[in-house]
């Protein structure tokens, strides 16, 4: 099974809009939403049946038993994350705690224990033929990379006859993006013709290149700045990155999404553009001799 990941660096360029259209066009039997911080794919790829839900446990977090605590201050002094504070008693800030276990180790009286903590919810849709894996990270949690890895693992945990898996990624270049990049066959970058978009595209291309993954680029809302669109295309040519197409700004796309539809479910200009991009992307993904 070949895995295609959709990324952008900058947020809001249209990753989910394009991923949902691709899923529809491919009639994909395996797909996942790795934007665990702000998942949206389920809004346009609705399943009628309830998913199988599971709590996601990140690393265990420290808890201090104040009955045992002798207030020696060792835990607070050794915590690198400023997660322990003393007001009327020693307490752990669960949001700041990264679960390293140093406080438990240094406590001379065993007053610190590491307790399981639910950091999110995993959701798996599976009907015997198709699988959709998604999750929601708990507010303020710091273990999004692990959760992304879990979402991808669950997508592959059931048997489906699929040659292609489509994965919607998250913005940025940090831990969830790095986790989503591991093991995929190709990345489609959705660029936006703005100075910010170009800057962010450069950073995500460098990040993906670090993993040696094949990269293709498309531009969304290309007509919002033709000059910068051309600049991106030249940049891609200079960097020998395949450019797979332009999508125009389209108010019908917003309407489709707001109605819970993909842009290929309605007759609109952005939908037509994305069909062509889909074909080119798939050809590249399944190209002979490709990694």
């Amino acid at each position: 099974m070949k895995q295609l990941l959709i990324l952008s660096g900058k947020g809001g360029t249209g990753k989910t809009t394009i991923a949902s259209a691709f899923i529809k066009l491919a009639n994909a039997r395996a797909y996942a939403d790795c934007d665990v911080d702000a998942p949206n794919l389920h809004l346009v790829n609705a399943w009628s049946a309830e998913p199988e839900k599971a709590d996601y446990y990140g690393l265990k977090k420290a808890v201090i038993d104040s009955d045992l605590c002798i207030e020696c201050d060792q835990c607070r002094q050794n915590c690198r994350f400023d997660a322990i504070s003393l007001t009327d008693k020693y307490e752990v800030n669960a949001y700041a705690c990264e679960g390293c276990g140093v406080c438990e180790y240094v406590c001379p009286v065993g007053a610190v224990a590491m307790a399981p903590s639910v950091d999110g919810e995993l959701m798996l849709h599976f009907d015997g033929k198709k699988v959709f894996s998604t999750a929601q990270l708990k507010m303020g949690s710091g273990t999004s990379g692990l959760l992304v890895t879990e979402v991808k693992k669950r997508m592959r945990s059931v048997e489906v006859e699929a040659e292609l898996a489509i994965i919607d990624g998250s913005p940025g270049i940090g831990c969830p993006v790095i986790a989503s990049l591991r093991g995929v066959d190709m990345v489609l970058i959705v660029a936006e013709p703005s100075i910010s978009g170009i800057n962010d595209m450069g950073r995500i291309v460098d990040t993906a290149a670090k993993f040696g993954i094949k990269i293709a680029v498309c531009i969304n809302k290309y007509d919002s700045n033709i000059e910068l669109t051309e600049k991106i295309e030249r940049w891609c040519a200079d960097h020998r990155l395949p450019f797979v197409g332009r999508i125009p700004f389209d108010p019908d796309a917003v309407r489709a999404v707001n109605a819970g539809k993909t842009i290929v479910d309605v007759d609109c200009i952005s939908g037509n553009a994305v069909r062509d991009i889909y074909q080119k992307t798939i050809d590249l993904l399944f190209e002979e001799g490709a990694g």
């Binding site: 790095i178 703005s194 917003v254």
Partner: protein, 293 residues
């Protein structure tokens, strides 16, 4: 009364990416005149592209990473067993450090019975500060391939950046995870920027829960408003969230923004729009301080 809230800290956030956080942050700071702008979106910092700050000073940000002294290590593997992040592996009877996975907790050093582990600094990014007209511009930049920008955000917000007696605007990263929490920690008021889509509402709901959880006073700016029905606006009305203002979808603003121009500095109509938004924010902050001192 006005003077008392001159130095407030406003955090601008959104949940979803690309709703216009940087547009709002950059223009609010510019409309304020003398102010501080801090870009906490360290994975994709863009504010500096708009401000083009001058006299930029730069400082690297490092974390501590363990280094092994082979001579002293007796291969007891206590460090490998201790590391909850699996940043140490036991290969050929010696621990190997995977720097990019290490959380710099210092635990391995503590458990080593032979003092074979010490720490070295590893650069993960940098912080820049410069001046753009009357705006002091702080930018945090995470290096490519690094997992967490939290130490950079901590540095950005710990510096003298926060104690000046003027308005501070914090441009936050997207999402609702640890990095966003770190960015809003010191804010007096949160401005949530929402776009009129189903995605926008779903993610607005998440940051709404986040700011509620942290008891931060907040209001919403509706961006990219079209003629059509606005799901984000309906959400605000339903939840009784103050709407601070509406920014229409407008080609001129879009073009200025895509070319990294600060609208407030280019066109009077936008100066008026963001000045009035800023006034509304100031009033809201004042109201919140009166209600909840």
């Amino acid at each position: 009364m006005e003077a008392e809230i001159e130095n407030m800290i406003i955090a601008v956030l959104s949940g979803k990416g690309g709703t216009g956080k940087t547009l709002v942050s950059v223009n609010l700071a510019s409309a304020a005149g003398a102010s501080t702008y801090i870009d906490c979106d360290v994975e994709e910092p863009n504010g500096h592209l708009f401000f083009k700050p001058e006299n930029v000073q730069e400082e690297t940000v490092s974390v501590l990473i363990p280094v092994l002294d082979d001579e002293r290590c007796d291969g007891c593997r206590k460090c490998v067993d201790f590391c909850r992040f699996n940043a140490l592996a036991f290969i050929r009877n010696k621990p190997i450090v995977f720097e990019e996975i290490c959380h710099s907790c210092g635990g391995c050093m503590l458990v080593c019975p032979t003092n074979a582990l010490s720490e070295k600094e590893k650069v993960i990014g940098k912080v820049q500060v410069g001046q753009s007209d009357q705006v002091k511009v702080y930018t945090g930049i995470l290096n490519i391939g690094e997992a967490s920008g939290v130490p950079i955000i901590k540095r950005l917000l710990s510096e003298n950046s926060l104690d000046e007696r003027k308005l501070t605007v914090i441009d936050c990263p997207p999402g609702s995870s640890c990095i966003v929490m770190e960015s809003i920690k010191d804010a007096d008021y949160c401005v949530l920027v929402a776009e009129p889509t189903l995605f926008g509402v779903h993610n607005l709901n998440m940051v709404y829960e986040l700011v509620s959880l942290f008891n931060k006073p907040f209001g919403v700016i509706l961006n990219k408003c079209l003629q059509d029905e606005n799901p984000a606006e309906m959400f605000c009305i339903e939840k009784n969230i103050p709407i601070l203002g509406r920014i229409p979808y407008d080609t001129m603003l879009g073009t200025l923004n895509s070319n990294a121009k600060i609208a407030v500095r280019e066109e009077d109509q936008y100066r008026e729009m963001f000045s009035s938004l800023l006034k509304t924010v100031r009033k809201e902050v004042l109201r919140e301080t009166v209600i909840d001192p």
